[in-house]
Symmetry: none
Subunit: 97 residues, 4 copies
DNA sequence: CCCGGCGTTAATGCAC
DNA sequence: GTGCATTAACGCCGGG
């Protein structure tokens, strides 16, 4: 039941808080949560930056809807290229040739 | 606060259960849940059927991984076609031409 | 006749289509693909039905987000539900929430 | 120099590339696209970092599924959290769960 | 048998 | 408020 040892550490919060291991588990959890939330905040900020650029593009006269499509296509184009190249091969392998 | 009227109906459960409207809300909720769960069960069953076919394909000597790719490509190909057709137009509009 | 174009594509892969075994593989593959795509289409249709019910629930005054949570809980095993809720509460208390 | 191929594509759209205004639009568009794609790449990298932390949490014995729920709850406004939990409990009681 | 990766599907958030 | 694009969660699959 090594899976649950940390869970059991946490389960003891408030009862045996003088045990070092449980304290450590709490600190560890807090640290993990903080790091994750920090990164997610950065992601959100970057999202804001992207939004600003679209606003800038719009005031420069570009159609943002089209611009978004353009970005989206460029994002998945690389994959499509290799897919296209291997498509015939795919059929051959599907047929066990 | 029309948003919350049903919530309030439900909130009364167990206290004023002799009021018809609250009873109806409960019945309505139960009905909705049952219908959704029924459909989800059917979806799950279909998923099992699909799995069985892949198993059948495998024992017939086909590479299921490749077969899955094949299905996936066929699924999104129609979209790609129209994307390709409008790509140049997209660039032109993005440039405000 | 868009149904048959892929079949023709497959038939065209091998240049020696007079070989019986390859023909059989082609037919078999086509059959498998058609059966899978049929089932997946049915799944998709059921998904649409589910979506419609949620829309209906919404116009009846239910909170669809909470309704989805409810369905998700019912989908899990009762033991798992309790276990997860306990653990979540544990984590929340660990962070003083 | 795969970076510049799209720029060349764009430059090639107009046949009258000697027109100053169109050139400027091309440059402007290229700049916007590059800036957006740069930011989106950074977002993607942060997403990878988050994933890594969840992996780390898992190997430290935490339940990542519950951990994600915890993060999600903290992301919402406290009032909304309580409201949703109340409503969910309501629905559960309505169905006798 | 468990685990990590992947593809699909649901859910959130954004733009109109 | 609605539809859509993105993002996160879920489940399945093959490998160790």
């Amino acid at each position: 039941m090594s899976d649950t040892e940390t869970a059991e550490d946490l389960a003891g919060i408030g009862h045996n808080s003088d045990e070092p291991r449980k304290e450590l588990a709490v600190d560890r959890l807090r640290s993990l949560v903080e790091r994750i939330e920090r990164l997610e905040q950065e992601k959100k900020d970057l999202g804001t930056d992207v939004k600003d650029i679209y606003a800038e593009a719009k005031s420069a006269g570009f159609d943002t809807k089209v611009l978004r499509q353009l970005i989206a296509i460029r994002r998945k184009e690389p994959d499509d290229v290799e897919e296209q190249e291997t498509l015939l091969d795919l059929y051959r392998r599907a047929l066990g040739m």
